[in-house]
Symmetry: C2
Subunit: 449 residues, 2 copies
């Protein structure tokens, strides 16, 4: 029976799945967990603890959960607490509203596929308040996390049109969920490059170049815009957004606006503008837009009702006069202020190093510095079969315990090298990281020059 | 611009998605929600409330959540309660264990894609205890609900092999998630029929007939078995399972064993046997099997950590000597006893009616009675462009407010008609439903005879 073919093997597996690559879950991260185990087992290392700057995983990095939201969730899960004097009335009111709209009064029940009506209405209200233009709650569809929504929307395009493969424009650098999903669904990928010299700006001329190239091999049907940027941390200007919408209109492209970091804007002269806001300026626009509802941003899969309860609480926070108002504002601002502080620190520190440049982190939770690797380092990397930036990241990991992600996982201009770091570590640890990083980098450049 | 093609329309949408049909979410259910609204608005109907027997949605039907599990979840969400004297020590111990294994000690963090190590180990332990044979925790992968897992596994097969479309064997009647997923992924569907005359039994001769047919148009690669059955409620015997495994081995098929209702077995001479248990009897078997981890069964999307915490609590329930043991057993048994009572009632009642036969509900949460529709009813249905069983279900809905699902949504032998009803309504309401159903059915048969 040795020659019998396995019913599922690398030879007969869906080839799209084989091609999948997800930088955020690759060998570097695997090695980091192995190192963590080795440290626990007492293996000697040049460091005593791992410093994780690889994942946009706020709570793992010590960000404190917002009390109000957790209170609402605790009560919907355990309704006996609705009578507990420990909880403030505004949290109770939110919890009761959610429970009242669940079938059987239990968060263990199913909801409509599009989400609970009260949640969708609340999200629409939130969007109206944010944008100052009407939002129809029936166009709000709650998904099990942003990844789920992105997959579901892209799935709609997964077919040939007029004998051509459908294509989707994505930024480079990008969040690798997009490239992975396009690969999985057999959709053509049209790269457009963000301009590092202009603060990772999005130039319409580059969009035009990219779509012209794309049309040679596929039928472009949609464009992904990530704002604020991941991994690049830029915030698009109003003018830029309007240009992109015009371009999409002219090219008849569906816009997927990934706006999960809309609350995370740090620079005083930057402001978040939603794509939806300007939609109405172009009456008759046929490219319908879609908005990630993953404002909560902490679960890859939002659970059917618990996640919706979370979304409801976030879009319906305590108002002035309600008992939790002050504490909610205080907790939220503390988080944003500390992110802002680290956003400033990160660019400043990296720009002070030799052979690194770094655009400011205007928003989101990341910086994407460029490293100017000496030719010798590139040579050694290639001799090991590694991308040079991945080689750099491995060296950093083994020598300092700092875990970042090599730029090649997100895409970059050929011949340039980068890495993504988060700004999520608590400030003291973040300072330590930047110090150790500086030391490592100086040594690395010296060794390979 | 009127002639401009929309960038996403029915003309250029992924055709697999257009074909998707999901009986559980179709026009009948939509109409039932409309009726519910009309009742609220005071529209006169022959009934005053909807009776939902269409969805396997336990909590919506008034099933009471298990206190122990809710306590664990409340504490992992709101860890301040770990010090609350209201909660028993065993629930606290579970909550602490889960929180200790979360990064940053928060359920708001991400976990490994396969799930938390402690959860996977606990599930493996649960399976070992259940089956009496070893289970490797590294083979346990936690998914965001059974639907997610089913989609992910079937996705692996979505490709041509040796120039042939891959095919998957599914039972008829089946849970429509399977047919929908196969359609979505462009996989060929090979129907095998369950034998209604043998209590919805699974006959290997029928499997052989089906695969022989299937091989004419595709390359059969996997077989789905639902045990206990949905919508059919049968429980497979040990002998039957062994035969299926042998068949799968001979045909080199991957077995997808959907065992989400393993706890729901009502007949004294039936016993649940997992497919995994007998796997080891056939050393060298190449068809690897996969097991739905959706033992909790209450969320379509299990959230990343909250759902895992739920799974952990269910597979690690209070043991003898622990403070919650008695109350947990009492609550669990009360639920199972009341389901058992209704499982007996449902077949007995339907079998007492004219022109209906109904196999016993040995397990799961459903019955799938056969209705012998008069030719005149079939004629009227067809003149309205409806499947006869859907016509029957619509009539029932409009006349009595009872919502069931027509058999054509699950598949049935051509020329036979069925419907699926759940046994989830609380016992008093369930009795009322059966009474009203009897009245309606008698009238219906009389009218169309």
């Amino acid at each position: 029976m040795a020659s019998r073919q396995r019913c599922l093997s690398m030879d007969n597996l869906n080839p799209h799945i084989k091609e999948l690559e997800y930088a955020l879950r690759g060998p570097l991260v695997a090695r980091s967990f192995q190192i963590q185990k080795e440290l626990k087992e007492g293996v000697k290392k040049p460091f005593t603890q791992m410093i994780r700057a690889n994942a946009g995983d706020c709570h793992a990095m010590g960000q404190v959960p917002i009390t109000f939201i957790r209170q609402v969730l605790a009560m919907v899960i355990y309704p006996a607490f609705l009578d507990n004097p420990h909880f403030p009335d505004d949290a109770k009111e939110r919890a009761r509203t959610i429970l009242d709209s669940c079938q059987g009064g239990s968060v263990g029940s199913y909801t409509n596929c599009s989400g609970l009506e009260i949640v969708r209405k609340q999200v629409a209200k939130f969007i109206e308040l944010r944008d100052g233009v009407p939002a129809d709650w029936q166009n709000v569809i709650v998904s099990a996390g942003a990844s789920d929504a992105i997959r579901k929307v892209l799935r709609l395009f997964a077919c040939d049109v007029d004998g051509q493969t459908s294509g989707v424009m994505i930024p480079i650098p990008q969040y690798p969920l997009y490239s992975a999903t396009l690969t999985d669904f057999g959709l053509a990928r049209i790269n457009y490059y963000l301009d590092e010299s202009k603060n990772w700006g999005l130039d319409v001329l580059e969009l035009k170049r990219a779509i012209t190239e794309g049309k040679k091999v596929c039928k472009p049907r949609a464009i992904v815009v990530i704002n604020p940027g991941n991994p690049t941390g830029q915030v698009l200007s109003r003018q830029n957004i309007e240009e992109i919408i015009k371009f999409a209109y002219e090219e008849n492209l569906f816009i997927l606006a990934d706006e999960v970091y809309q609350d995370n804007v740090y620079e005083d002269d930057c402001k978040f503008h939603s794509f939806k806001k300007f939609h109405v300026l172009f009456e008759g626009l046929h490219g319908r837009m879609w908005f990630s509802c993953r404002i909560c941003g902490s679960d890859q899969y939002v659970p059917q009702i618990i996640g919706q309860a979370c979304l409801y609480s976030i879009t319906n926070p305590p108002q002035k006069g309600e008992p939790s108002y002050e504490s909610f504002q205080k907790e939220k601002n503390a988080i944003l202020d500390s992110l802002k502080l680290r956003a400033k620190m990160v660019a400043k520190t990296f720009n002070s190093m030799e052979a690194i440049t770094c655009n400011p982190t205007q928003g989101a939770m990341y910086a994407f510095p460029r490293i100017y690797l000496p030719p010798k380092a590139i040579e050694v990397a290639k001799s090991q079969g590694k991308e040079p930036d991945v080689f750099y990241a491995f060296e950093l990991l083994e020598k300092t315990g700092i875990c970042i992600v090599g730029g090649s996982g997100f895409g970059q201009q050929p011949g340039t090298y980068h890495f993504r770091t988060t700004i999520l570590l608590q400030t003291d640890t973040f300072k330590t990281m930047l110090e150790k990083f500086t030391e490592f980098h100086t040594e690395f450049i010296k060794n390979y020059s």
